[in-house]
Symmetry: C2
């Protein structure tokens, strides 16, 4: 569905939010935690871990913490969660392995096929607050065919800081309107739009798990609204 | 040929120098210049452009110039060359197009096959002084299957600054000895070795053009010495 006048040929780069948009963080973490520690509520664990994410980044962006990669922020949050979920006994090696679950997130079923189609016409890159090492490991494992892995780490700022959105345009020597952010989160898309980028909303109704369906009704302002990445490829004529 | 005791399993990431190692800058530029401007000596033009590269980076690293991307350094050098080669009449659009020839460099004949083999066992990334936009455009056009595009731009320092070599290890949360630099230039490999990285020398005898063959005899200190990227894949058991 087109929600504004928009020409697919005006865009050269598609930049993708990752957690929730391209990969299923909730399902991947809930499953792995449940498998490793059957007495733990995987759904609650995944939600609690993710809930610590924005406050942790905020501590970095406010200057309370120096520049800190998401791998390290995930670990800080994890340390707080383990006692709450009866996992205070985990060894250092077990904690490291569990923290790396964010490197092992599974793609949504449409992601690889959709990205492969989109890549034929556009330069496709990640644009995630996740660090480069995390995004590279994830892409290699899940088969995400990025032309380029871009991360907040490159710009040393976390979305929705304008430096991240404008940074993509600058990397590719393009005007902001030649870059489109693809994301399942309206606040991310709003940040990009404020910088002059084009925006495409992707419905991910089960991002928070089957028990917590998300409102994915269209909101005004986005250039495109698509059910998934194959539907986005349809809209963009790929 | 193994030139030191070295176990392929001790390395996780292969980081590749690009200009001359993976792509043929001399041949690509000489051919394109000759096609566009038949009266110009393409061989001399390519050599002169490349000769300005290290001094330009040195001006950045010495602080004389602020941080400047290679696209912009190439353009500065080009402006000096055009009058010397009878091309002072070029329009702004023609200059921009010519400057982008660095985005259109052709891979050496073995590069795509060799990288594809190496990627099965290792994480493969670029590690070039070229900027991210340049490296991404080049990879997309030439089919270079990087897991990740790393550039001096990420570290805001040019090789052989230790920040670049150590930066790769840090991005992947590895010890320096778990990263191998693959390059056709001994000074680059020396810089990496001084930081604790493993090193593989690739022979590119015609890097400077058929008229200027390069000495590619083995030098002590490198872990591996290979004729090309397929030979490197053989040595690494890929």
């Amino acid at each position: 569905m087109h929600t504004s006048s928009f020409s697919p040929d005006s865009v050269q780069v598609l930049a993708f939010d990752i957690f929730g948009t391209v990969v299923d963080w909730h399902g991947s973490i809930a499953r792995e935690v449940q498998d490793l520690y059957p007495h733990v509520d995987g759904d609650a664990f995944a939600l609690a871990w993710r809930a610590g994410y924005k406050p942790a980044m905020q501590r970095v962006m406010s200057g309370e913490l120096g520049w800190t990669l998401i791998d390290d922020l995930h670990r800080m949050i994890l340390e707080g969660l383990l006692p709450q979920f009866g996992l205070a006994h985990l060894s250092e090696a077990e904690r490291q392995h569990l923290n790396r679950v964010w490197h092992r997130l599974a793609a949504w079923p449409d992601s690889v096929a959709g990205l492969t189609r989109l890549k034929r016409k556009y330069t496709i890159c990640s644009l995630s607050n996740g660090n480069i090492g995390l995004l590279t490991a994830m892409a290699k494992r899940a088969g995400l065919p990025w032309d380029c892995v871009l991360s907040a780490e490159v710009f040393r700022a976390y979305k929705p800081d304008p430096a991240v959105y404008l940074g993509v345009a600058k990397v590719f020597d393009l005007a902001p309107a030649q870059v489109m952010l693809v994301a399942a989160h309206h606040d991310d898309l709003e940040g990009a739009r404020a910088c002059g980028l084009r925006t495409a909303y992707i419905e991910r109704p089960l991002e928070m798990g089957a028990a917590h369906p998300k409102d994915v009704s269209p909101q005004p302002g986005n250039d495109l609204h698509a059910a998934d990445l194959n539907a986005l490829a349809d809209l963009l004529g790929c």
